[in-house]
């Protein structure tokens, strides 16, 4: 009997409705999708199409109005807040548009944050972060505070923070939006490499055409619903 792979993330008829001045706004409408481990998925669509909200639903940062979400086979929507926090810590990595590194910690401390919370011993944490920093081209910057790093370097630290714990999936919201062209391409190379070499599952919300071109699965959203879901062969640029 063949072993059935558990989806990295799965949604079933998920809705997210916000109330604004008594008016219901359907930010996400009846989205059902399944993302397998190792996929490199882009959520695309115009502003207001629900990309960020769907990403937040997938990461358990916000609760759906209706429907259910599973991460790594565990139903997020049935969990208590503490359990969701634990699941985020162990199975989900986040990369934000504005990097969102903790300014009082060094690059190394930021990157090892989730490992530390998970109780990984100091030597192991340092070894893993240093190796990752070398791999993504920011070796030697471990002791710098975020304010002493360029935007591209900060975003790489953020990527390192997201992937160092080997999560089931990494959710990235407009990760290249604040970067110049060269930094964006370099960052995309890093994430594509991590996806191919480490098998890390990436789900992006983006407007960036370069990122869409690298996607092996492109999900287009319009008015909160899935307009199209297309798969493509692996990129040759990785």
């Amino acid at each position: 009997m063949s072993e059935q792979r558990v989806a990295a993330v799965r949604t079933d008829a998920v809705w997210k409705v916000f109330e604004h001045d008594g008016i219901a706004v359907e930010a996400v409408r009846d989205v059902t999708l399944e993302i397998a481990p190792g996929e490199f998925v882009v959520l695309a669509g115009p502003s207001g199409s629900g990309k960020t909200t769907l990403l937040n639903l997938l990461g358990g940062l916000t609760a759906p109005t209706r429907g259910a979400v599973w991460i790594d086979g565990r139903e997020l929507t049935a969990m208590k807040e503490r359990q969701r926090a634990r699941l985020r810590l162990e199975r989900v990595g986040f990369v934000f548009q504005a990097y969102n590194l903790l300014p009082v910690l060094t690059a190394l401390e930021n990157a090892e944050f989730s490992l530390l919370l998970r109780g990984v011993p100091p030597e192991e944490r340092t070894r893993r972060v240093r190796a990752l920093f070398e791999r993504i081209g920011i070796g030697g910057l471990e002791d710098r505070r975020p304010s002493k790093l360029s935007g591209g370097q900060q975003q790489r630290v953020a990527v390192a923070r997201a992937v160092v714990g080997e999560p089931a999936l990494v959710l990235a919201d407009e990760p290249t939006a604040n970067l110049d062209s060269a930094s964006s391409i370099a960052l995309l190379d890093v994430m594509t490499t991590l996806n191919v070499e480490l098998g890390t599952t990436f789900v992006f919300a983006t407007h960036d055409q370069r990122l869409m071109e690298r996607a092996r699965r492109l999900i287009r959203l319009v008015d909160g619903g899935v307009e199209s879901d297309t798969r493509r062969p692996p990129s040759t640029r990785a």
Partner: protein, 422 residues
């Protein structure tokens, strides 16, 4: 444990991150605690002085009397020789005697003082001169002549206002009248040997000291006295001595009882309590202001860092852990600045330990409270309980001032926080 260390590290670095704001807030706390420590030490010192002055001019820390004498002030309610013997035996008990400095027997009546010029109501006290000299210290306030000595017989020590009103001077004759033990009005001739001035009008006009033996013969009470005035080694130990003395006198409670100065001098007790309440109110207002400053700083820091707290939650911190970072920041800020305030407060107090704080320049006249003349110098008192009070205040302020900002940090919507622009 690792988590706790990480959260503590975050809190510490966040406090250091806004150095100027932290220092400004901390200085309010430093000042608040320093003022608390100093004013507490000064207040305790002032109260000790009030009590000391009061008990010496009054009936001591403890007055051993007939149970009715406090109300009646009548010779019928004097200590009989038997009751006196019981009281003296109790005071001689080693566990009590070692905590007592002096015991002054007194025979007190209200009477009139006559001279050729007129008559004035006075409070006549028959005293053992040498014991009384050390006890009441009236002898230190002589302006003319001297205090009584044991060999004196028909002599009196009077206040300056009385001397002025009755036109008396050292060597002048004076007649004292009062109701004796038989109920008859009796007179006693005495000659002035000394005049004192306390600065307190009631005392300077109304107190007359005469030798105890003279008073006993004049009032026909034999060897009886109305009061044994007891001075404890320490005013703070008085309640314990009173309790032991009460127990020792319990069997003869119908004839003899011990009264603490709070009961014997209710006006002084009330004055100290009112002053204490005033101090407490002042400290509460002070700490509300300091607490609000800390709430403001920590809360501003929380609002300013909304996105950061959102990130912490997204990375896997629970609401409680996020709150503990904020709580830790508030507590750290309060603890460090509070301890510094304590050190400064005690250092400032120490400066005044030797010579006290002299506020005579602020007063035009003598300063009295509840019939007690106060020295215009307050010597602060250091007590271990002050350290615990200060530490307690720091903890209470720290906890109260950090709770609300910590609660606010738990209310942050993670998804919304990511949109927040600092």
């Amino acid at each position: 444990m690792r988590r706790a260390r990480l959260l503590a590290r975050l809190a510490l670095r966040n406090v250091r991150r806004q150095t100027r704001r932290s220092i400004l807030t901390a200085s309010a706390m430093v000042l608040g605690v320093a003022v608390l420590v100093f004013s507490r030490a000064l207040g305790d010192g002032a109260h000790e002085d009030w009590i000391d002055q009061g008990v010496r001019l009054g009936k001591g820390h403890i007055a051993v009397q007939h149970p009715r004498f406090q109300q009646s002030r009548h010779l019928d309610d004097r200590l009989t020789p038997r009751a006196l013997a019981v009281a003296e035996r109790a005071l001689a008990r080693p566990d009590i005697a070692k905590r007592v400095t002096a015991v002054a027997p007194r025979l007190e009546i209200q009477g009139l003082a006559y001279s050729a010029t007129g008559a004035i109501p006075v409070f006549v006290t028959g005293v053992e001169p040498e014991i009384e000299a050390a006890f009441s210290k009236l002898g230190e306030r002589v302006v003319e002549g001297r205090y009584l000595v044991d060999s004196d017989r028909l002599h009196a020590f009077v206040g300056q206002r009385l001397a002025e009103r009755l036109d008396l001077e050292v060597g002048s004759r004076l007649v004292l009248t009062g109701q004796d033990a038989t109920g008859e009005i009796a007179g006693q001739f005495v000659r002035v040997v000394g005049i004192f001035r306390t600065g307190l009008p009631e005392a300077d006009e109304g107190i007359v000291h005469i030798p105890l033996r003279t008073a006993q013969e004049w009032l026909q009470v034999g060897g009886a006295v109305t009061t044994l005035a007891v001075l404890a080694v320490s005013g703070w130990d008085m309640p314990g001595v009173l309790e032991d003395l009460d127990a020792a006198l319990a069997e003869d409670s119908s004839e003899v009882a011990a009264l603490g100065w709070r009961q014997a001098m209710p006006e002084l007790d009330a004055a100290i309590r009112i002053d204490d309440y005033g101090d407490y109110l002042f400290h509460i207002i002070l700490f509300v202001i300091v607490g609000l400053a800390i709430v403001n700083t920590v809360l501003m820091s929380v609002l300013y860092r909304t996105r950061e707290f959102g990130v912490l939650r997204a990375l896997g911190l629970t609401k409680g852990e996020t709150a503990s970072v904020v709580f830790g920041e508030g507590l750290l800020l309060t603890a460090v600045s509070g301890l510094l305030g304590m050190v400064i407060g005690f250092a400032f107090t120490w400066i005044f330990f030797r010579n006290g704080l002299d506020y005579s320049g602020m007063l035009d006249n003598e300063f009295t409270i509840s019939g007690i003349l106060l020295e215009p110098v307050i010597v602060p008192i250091f007590r271990v309980v002050q350290v615990f009070q200060s530490l307690g205040s720091i903890v209470v302020i720290g906890v109260l001032a950090s709770l609300y900002p910590a609660y606010r940090a738990t209310r942050i919507d993670v998804a919304e926080a990511m949109k927040f622009e600092a």
